[in-house]
């Protein structure tokens, strides 16, 4: 996938999905699109099946399967008669015909809202045709769009979880995303496809990955590195899922261990049914940075009694890392670096990593506005900032920490006063827009995520890449520019929201807060 296509898809998703939220049915479609040879089949009206295939293909499909188009989305074309009399026969016929026409390896039956309300017995229907088709088949019992998922939950609980994890990486989060359409489908795949193994593969592990619209991340880079390091340690990666084949999923129980990053329910199922133990790291907080990556390999190796070998492999990696970072350390020497971010997506560990790269962090700007707009209470935002500051007190650079929630004009003015050579930023969204804004104001800005780095990915190579990117950005010329993009009137606190879009944005946020999430205000 080339960089431009990646950026275009990101821009399309970000523009078109503004002031809207997708549903579980779409999540199910996406997850199935990440399985090679799978065809999703919707039991529902044409309207639900029309738009998903017009959205950009997801990042796992493009990066791990190498397919740059979304899959087709056939449906049963549910009509009024089906809503009254039931659509079982239609679904049976459609399954058989999908099998005959597409010759898929897997058919994933997704139910829509109407099918769920009228109570068509999907399990019975699927089982009744199982023997008439060549493909494997699964169904997702709770993918109806009205089914609740955790996005409607209070973000404050998520905040509390993360604060606890900062204090204790082994703390178990209470908040999760188990009920989202994607993970529902993952569970269905595992529950309905994984087979009893004829034999176990010694020292083997399954790796769970994620990143539906994370076009900006190097998903395959992380996985290739994990496979390579594991192999050096003597551990075989059995299945990486999704982004795999149907037979990979069927053979998951051959592994002895699971590394799960999204669905603990699926991990528990595999443990109960096949005795496969697991590590669960839902927010990617356990294994951030170099120490995190080390810990990851040691944690897994320990399960196989391979710690010594792992330590040796890691020492070699660290040696290579140290050599590779010399250039970065030279480049950042004496430079004033600022780091500005939206907390939660950035953890204190990432800031420590920047110091390890040799960065002298003069200023840290923390901004919680984005979260507050999405429903985080002021109290939680305050707590988050306090906790974050206390986690940063041991930083070698002793930076000035600004927690004022500055608007973008104030932010650039403030950083200009501080004579900053490079601002490293992570604001969750609109990173290119912000880079352009900073450049227009004569400040060099760099967003690691724009270049494929993610602090949530377990990788030594990504750290080398991050260092090289910082060094390269410091060397890049700062040209006075007058970007067309910035000739419009933007809202200072909500950059890059146009002033003219503000009323729509505020309306949308209020409805999300009071109607969608507001369970205390409505029954």
């Amino acid at each position: 996938m080339n960089a431009l296509k990646r950026e275009i898809w990101s821009a399309q998703i970000s523009h078109a999905c503004r002031y809207s939220v997708d549903c579980k049915m779409f999540g199910a479609y996406c997850y199935l699109s990440e399985i090679k040879g799978a065809i999703p089949l919707l039991h529902g009206p044409v309207g639900c099946a029309f738009f998903p295939k017009l959205a950009p293909p997801d990042a796992i499909r493009t990066q791990l399967l190498g397919i740059n188009q979304p899959p087709p989305f056939p449906c049963t074309d549910m009509d009024e008669r089906d809503v009254i009399y039931g659509g079982a026969d239609k679904l049976r016929d459609a399954i058989v015909e999908v099998d005959r026409y597409y010759r898929p390896e897997l058919i994933g039956v997704i139910i829509s809202c109407p099918a769920a309300i009228i109570g068509d017995d999907i399990e019975e229907i699927v089982n009744s045709v199982r023997n008439r088709i060549d493909a494997e088949i699964i169904y997702t019992p709770s993918s109806a769009g009205f089914s609740d998922d955790e996005r409607v939950e209070n973000l404050d609980r998520h905040t509390d979880d993360l604060i606890n994890i900062w204090k204790n990486p082994d703390a178990k989060p209470k908040w999760g995303i188990e009920k989202c359409g994607r993970l529902d489908t993952l569970y269905s795949l595992i529950e309905q496809l994984v087979e009893e193994p004829s034999e176990k593969i010694e020292n083997s592990v399954n790796i769970d990955t994620y990143g539906r619209f994370h076009y900006f991340e190097d998903l395959s880079g992380e996985l290739n590195e994990i496979k390579e390091v594991m192999s050096e340690i003597g551990i075989r990666v059995n299945t990486v899922f999704p982004g795999c084949s149907v037979s990979d999923i069927k053979g998951m129980a051959r592994a002895q261990f699971n590394f799960m990053r999204r669905s603990e329910r699926s991990a528990e199922f595999l443990k109960e049914k096949f005795g496969i133990d697991y590590i669960f790291d839902i927010f990617g907080t356990r294994y951030v940075g170099i120490s995190g990556a080390k810990r990851f390999y040691l944690d897994i190796a320990e399960r196989f009694g391979l710690q010594k070998r792992a330590e040796k492999v890691i020492r070699e990696k660290e040696g290579y890392l140290k050599d590779s970072l010399k250039e970065t350390r030279e480049a950042v020497k004496g430079k004033n670096i600022a780091y500005m971010f939206t907390p939660l997506s950035t953890t204190p560990k990432f800031i420590e990593l920047l110091e390890m790269l040799g960065c002298d962090i003069k200023v840290i700007c923390i901004n919680t506005q984005w979260w507050q707009r999405w429903g985080m209470s002021r109290r939680s935002a305050g707590k988050l900032v306090t906790e974050l500051k206390s986690n940063l007190k041991d930083l070698r650079s002793s930076p000035d920490i600004c927690v004022e929630d500055l608007n973008i004009e104030e932010e650039t003015d403030y950083l200009k006063e501080k004579n900053i050579d490079l601002v490293i930023g992570d604001v969750l969204i609109s990173d290119i827009s912000r880079t352009m804004f900073y450049e227009n104001h004569g400040i060099r800005y760099f967003s690691p995520f724009l270049f494929g780095y993610s602090s949530f990915r377990i990788s030594f190579n990504q750290i080398i890449r991050l260092g090289k990117m910082i060094a390269s950005r410091l060397r890049s010329p700062l040209i006075e520019r007058k970007f067309l993009y910035l000739q419009y009137k933007y809202h200072n606190y909500r950059f890059p929201t146009l002033l003219s879009d503000m009323s729509q944005e505020l309306l949308w946020e209020e409805i999300m807060r009071k109607v969608w999430r507001g369970k205390d205000e409505i029954r």
Partner: protein, 415 residues
Amino acid sequence: MRFVDPVQGDKLLGAFRAACGIKGASVIIHSPVGCHWGVNFLERMSSIETNSTISALRERNVIFGGEENIEKVIEIILKRKKEVYLFLLASSIPSIICEDWTAVIDSIDADIHLISMDCGGYLGKMGDGYEECLEKVYDWIEDPRKKEDKIRPSVNLIGLQRDIFRGEANVKELRRILGRIGVNVNSVFPPASLTELRRAATADLNVVLGYGKNLAEKMKKRWGMPWIYCEEYPYGLVGTKKFVRHIGMMLGVDPDLLDKKLQGEKERALQSLRNARPYLPALYGLPVAISADLPQATGMARFLSLEVGANIETIHVTSSPPSGDGVSQLRDICPEILVEDSWDKFDTLLKNTEIELIFGTDLEKPIFQNRGVPLMLFSYPTTSRVALTSSPYMGFRGVLTLMEEMVNLILHGNV
């Protein structure tokens, strides 16, 4: 029954397309979040600034109903507007559980002008929703003030889609051409604003382009406005002349003036086309497939066949007005016609036919990507192209845009 790989949305998308771009009005999709996500995604990607929001139904609403959600959303909207012009488009869930959403809004003590529609996805296709929504906006058209002596006659263009690639340029071109014969375009439906909608009854003639017959008939009954029906969009010199002549004759434009103006436009177009003239024979016999909404498919097929000399191998009518004329008029141009069929059937047909150019929609992108058949997007959805300049596909100037793109396709292998 086999499966359907859909080539169109359902009733909700049709209604949303007609309602979501009207500045000054608000649209509430009464549904779970996903129904809104889908339709809003497509329209925003079609360069429409949508004015929509959602009642965000959840699991509990399936059991207890979503009336409270509507009340809450309207309360939030009323904080911002005193007088609300509101479309309430109810999706499958409230439709199946038989909610009385109109009663909820009637019980609110506020100045709300409501158009509500049952848009359960199982109740109809995109064309049904589009047609019904166009009919319903009749309620918001105002009686004309005392008739003033107008210098120029005017028309409303009903069913002229703005949310397709070059949609706004098409509107502009038809305004320009009609202006040349002394006819103003009063309103276009779907309208771009409430103002444009409210003044519709001041026009002298309604011109229905595929969609909007019921609206035109209602306006005729109430205000005595005559209407004419155009079964196809005006592509090409022939199609455009026929379209303009029909309107001119209806409005009593002097036939000599009409002929003179049309001849002048035609000559100018041909003059501009001269540089591409050497390539026109290369297009003779070009095997083409068309995938489009009925009025667009009809107009484009006629232009490509009669004026360009292309061979129309296959047509897929992806959507059509509920009271449409069918495809019989296309049979003499193309023997192989699918109507609102599953997309895979069209794909199979194309696999078995030597096609060198597709006039289609975003749905045909895989054929371009996988088999390298060039694709010209002109019918809904066309989300993967952006138009900024006034280069239409319709009208006299549209001939130039179409020919420019086709010839460049041949020269460079891509648009």
